[in-house]
Symmetry: C3
Subunit: 545 residues, 3 copies
């Protein structure tokens, strides 16, 4: 289909300037023809000088505008006739075959719908610790990028179950356009024990489809088809593709870039400390389009730490409440589309300053901040980060295609499954067996700390319930809740993060033990108060450490 | 041994009609000789016309009566001298070698004595949720059919531990005659933390040995050696073989059949809805022998759904209590040998109508109905069932023997270990890797729901105990117990069933979430009542879903 | 390095008797030269006649004293100048290459830092059941012998985290001298949620380094550099090697031996019942050196049961309290270096007689006895033990080196990873698959019992806390604590022991179910008392077993 398209669009419509570009058949093989200047683009550049600046001299210089844009003739006839822009990764894939195909390759070893909240999972006590979050309805181990939209839509907490695989239980490995794979069971369909927690903002890091329909930060705007308050079902229906090439690569000039609004805002506000080089800055240049409707951040040199941080970063994406007033914060408030860029030890403080928490715990009523996939913040300051290693070095290593040609894998691998490619390039003195063993050592240790944090959070929650029953005073309960708030985020960070501590084991250890300490303080506090109220004292015995 | 026997019995004793049948050496190789009519069987047919009807014209037509029946001469001399019938699968195996050998093949990947009630098992919270059931003493993952008698006899809940492997801990892979493998430690032997929950009825779906000694439904009868009230130790001692060929194949005429009494009764009473074809009926014909002493159900066309449902179906097989009166129901009552043929959502109602439950929960006192391996009921109405797929299609696929000859595996495989044979015959467009991935998706999802059900049942039980301590009124407690009764069966069904939801994922999802909802209702009810009684209120906070 | 040394020391210094021994280049290849008598050793024998007795006629007869002892010349010049003794395994390894190399081979399948206190681990409820033990901070699955010192030093409960890998998280597979691998973060370094539970005694079964610096039983002595009360940090810093060849092999004469003081004492006091042959005795001969400063036990015939029991045995190695007075027992007391040689059913009674327990449980205050790696006691009386099988038969089987030469593996293997070598030599009729299956059957069964014991201990602890709150009388609480003391040791034994029951499944079953029974008794006792105190009664229902 795309090969045909490349041929078809090889003529830029408009102003009689249409020029045939037979070279495209070559382009499709990855070698653009030598001279394609005279393809009518100058007319486009007349208005779009920022495009010219990015395009000319770049690796995509030889591609005519019509390769990605349809209805140019109509657009040139009248500005009101908007051109149609193709953002489908398959178009890019017609030249960048290995990258495209690897991106959509299914890793059959990474099982689908693997619930985290089970004894063998990565968050065994989730049902108690996260009650009454939507996450308690279904929260699975992540799969590959090819599934990021469908996995989000079918999960029991997103749309109450109304989006299902057309092939029902057997659709789980289908890759492609969202609505070829899924069906909408309709507005009256609601499965038991499900949630409707999806919202337009959370889709922005799953797809690039709304890049021209979503104003910067998701604010309401007549030019924006969708905003933070839009009907989530309608937005979902308009989402056909997972995050595409254009999320990280500018299509006009191939410059490395970021497009996720809240990240650009956060870097702008906070400076780029988290992603800075040794000089304390990044080369990220923010470019504003269409009178601020949309911004992108362009880099000279590819830095996957920022590119991946568009999604692999903690963000608010749902409604919440204010810490001081307790008032509900709705989607109309920009705090519901916010990337804190704060580490696990700073997130609670950041959230208090921002005056925003997501919800109260079902038992203690503690005001909980909810971290989500905070890979960027976790990695910041780690041994590998300090050594200048970026995400892509380990997760998108050079691999070979079937013909033996090397290419940068866009499959986004788990290093432990590809130790040779991911680790040994930098650590050639080791065997894959040795490196895997070291990885396991870190993950085993941190998993141990996670389980201990969970145990103590559980003790805190149970003891709190007992304390209320025994009539412990509100002052003591308030202190315990505060400790719960602290202990919670220090723990949940690490089950939300996807490396079982590998990205930054020191930070993981520090944070998780701090969580345990806080929980123990709360338990001690509550037990003492219960003792005073109840008939018997809890056994206080010599501690041995 | 069996080859010798076939030669030896090739002469039917009696009435001077003995005729040599040299053809049997051929029969032993699977090719019965051309003419064997003149073997004396007409004398037998004189009384046993129902045998003639099944035998003549069938695939076994050429086998003389003496192949399976000894002491015929004595029997013909006097009716009182009963012939001896060989029901050992090895006799069948002398012709049906591949089927026989595959049936007794050990799957060494399926580990023995794998307790279900552990965090990594299929019922991690069993000790709390099933207290004080015998199942809490030992309840293991199932193994292959070759072990069905010995696994039942040695399990800690069956006979208090008095039956043990002769080779003690190392007898676990022994296959063969029960009492070659096991020993009886004697009546005074009782291991700590064990139960004596075995009973004659439950053995009826583990062996075919009692087929001529057990009256239909296990009622007392002078002609029956064993009945429902018999001493279980004596019955066990008389059990040498696992379920044999004759459970599913009529030996006289090779007709597909069922022999399990409670199943025949249930189909008779309920009609055959669960196993019906598109016309709403089955071709099962019930034949009564010996003045109703025994019944069999014979099919024209093999339907493994019914054959497997002889055992892979939920049944009562122990004593219990009446819902209304609370009176004990003993083995003399036919309700202790009953197959409800009800699905998970109907089982409690069915049991209430039947006025029978097995026992009260140790903490709440809820009257619990206990489902056992309900594969048939689960499968009913599933996608595969509607498509006309039967058990044997997936679990007994065509495989090849060492000589490369195809045969119907009687090993009864786990499809996930043999995806190619079990799935790809019908789904040729997929790879084994893909199909396995889809299977895992379903099982992962349902396992998640099972763990959530267990969490909430646990909460219910703990909150109930607290409520009693705080003096919550009996009316509220009674409501909570009723919800426990509902929530329990909706959950336990799925740990009793052996596919982790694969047989019917929609039903599994519906049922398990209904269990969660019921448990949550009970917890809310109890918490509210505790709050009213105790010093403090449980934190009621904004719910976010 | 060692080859050079062997050459260098081939001359015994002293008294002008120095004789060149060119034969050592041969010795290094494993073939000592024919005649090396005239190497000056007679001067040494003048004082050290016990060495002569062991050395002459032995396999090491031809090695000159200077092979292992430096500064002999100075020593001969003045008794006050102590010779320097090389105890490094590498010196032995220069001749015994396969043994040496196999000892330090890393099993990469045995993952590092695998916390036991997680749902998938061998002690999932440890945080509750062992509170407030140091073990709750970090307690990992064991790894190979090559790691025994570093694993001990870096574990979070040993030194508060001040000993860390120089390569931090990536040092986990380093093998060699302790302080090449680890660094000391200094006295002010203390990680959160860690313990400082290390002590000089516990190091004595991890290293042979202190063999000449530690008086028998670790008592204070001017001749001893270290004793039980020494600063643990200083002792650790002086520990460079894991347990070496000399722990089991006398270097002078290659006699099999034991050196661990508390084991020698225990065998002396108790007789050798646990390690006796059929005649009720062992051939262990205790030899005292330097006026009782040090003792060794020498065997005629190698018995790995005793050699391994130097470490793989339960021992006290920390401080504790007296049962009767409650007084603290410090390191100055010899009870802190004690090997009970008692089985799981006798340990509590033994400890009561000894008047020593380690600490009180955090919730119940029960006085807990803590078993540690009791492999020897567990194995005693097992089927394999009765058959005359010793540790080395299964864990150090004959294997082949790369050149195909057979040698006794000193890797100390897990039999399940090497079934052929470990099991089939004695059980040749089985396949490796079958034997592994049998092993799994035992371990699965015992793991089930362990999980059940833990469930009931957890119930005991929770119910105890509730009982105290409801004001249950001290008499009842004391009874419950006593039952906790009994139930605890009967359980913990089996998570401390490293075979998941395989070493003695009968003993494991008996002990674990006894633990369950004790816990159930305590729960019933407490529940009854709570019922009397609180508003409601716990549901007492018909029990069905």
């Amino acid at each position: 289909m795309w090969k045909k398209r490349l041929a078809a669009v090889a003529v830029v419509a408009g102003a009689g300037l249409a020029v045939s570009i037979p070279a495209f058949s070559t382009a499709a093989k990855g070698k653009p023809a030598a001279t394609v200047k005279d393809d009518g683009r100058e007319v486009c550049y007349g208005c779009h000088d920022e495009i010219k600046a990015m395009k000319e001299g770049s690796k995509h210089a030889k591609l005519a505008c019509g390769v990605c844009h349809d209805k140019l003739k109509e657009h040139l006839a009248s500005y009101e006739n908007k051109p149609v822009t193709t953002i489908d990764a398959a178009l890019c894939g017609s030249c960048h075959k290995d990258e495209f195909e690897s991106f959509f390759t299914v890793n059959y070893d990474s099982q689908p719908r693997k619930e985290k909240g089970v004894p063998t999972g990565r968050s065994p006590m989730m049902d108690k610790l996260l009650a009454p979050y939507g996450f308690t309805f279904e929260h699975n181990e992540p799969r590959g990028h090819a599934f990021m939209v469908t996995d989000q839509f079918v999960v029991d907490r997103f749309a109450g179950g109304r989006f299902q695989y057309k092939k029902r239980w057997f659709g789980v490995d289908s890759v492609g356009k969202t609505w070829d794979i899924l069906e909408d069971k309709g507005p009256d369909f609601k499965m038991a024990e499900s949630a409707k927690a999806g919202n337009p903002t959370c889709i922005q890091c799953k797809t690039s489809d709304h890049i021209l329909k979503w104003k910067f930060m998701g604010d309401k705007d007549p030019r924006a088809k969708w905003d933070r308050t839009s009907d989530i079902i309608a937005v979902a229906k308009d989402t056909q593709n997972v995050v595409g090439c254009i999320h990280c690569h500018d299509p006009h000039g191939t410059q490395p870039r970021v497009v996720r609004d809240a990240l650009i805002q956060a870097i702008d506000e906070k400076g780029a400390k988290m992603f800075a080089g040794k000089d304390g800055t990044t080369d990220l240049k923010v470019i504003s389009f269409r009178d601020g409707f949309r911004k992108i951040g362009v880099m000279k040199k590819s830095d996957s730490r920022m590119m991946c941080a568009q999604c692999h970063v903690n963000y608010n994406c749902g409604t919440g409440y204010e810490f001081d007033t307790g008032k509900k914060v709705g989607y109309e408030d920009q705090r519901t589309n916010h990337i804190p860029l704060a580490g696990p030890k700073d997130l609670l403080e950041h959230s208090k300053k921002q005056n925003f928490y997501e919800l109260r715990h079902a038992v203690t009523g503690a005001r909980l901040v909810k971290p989500r996939h905070p890979e960027a913040e976790t990695y910041f300051g780690s041994v590998h980060d300090k050594a200048g290693v970026t995400c892509a070095d380990c997760h998108m290593p050079i691999m070979k295609n079937k013909q033996g040609k090397s290419f940068k894998s866009h499959m986004v691998i788990k290093p432990k499954d590809h130790v040779k490619e991911a680790c040994l390039r930098c650590h050639p003195k080791y065997t894959a067996e040795q490196k895997l063993y070291q990885i396991q050592g870190i993950q085993n240790y941190i998993r141990g700390k996670m389980r201990k944090s969970e145990y103590w959070l559980g003790q805190l929650i149970d003891t709190y319930a007992t304390a209320k029953r025994w009539g412990v005073d509100e002052e003591t309960l308030a202190k315990a809740r505060e400790k719960h708030e602290e202990a919670h985020v220090l723990w949940e960070w690490w089950t939300a993060e996807n490396s079982d501590g590998f990205h930054n084991p020191d930070l993981a250890r520090d944070t998780l033990t701090a969580s345990i300490a806080k929980s123990k303080e709360a338990v001690a506090l509550l037990n003492k108060a219960i003792e005073a109220k109840s008939g018997g004292a809890r056994g206080a015995e010599p501690k041995k450490q």
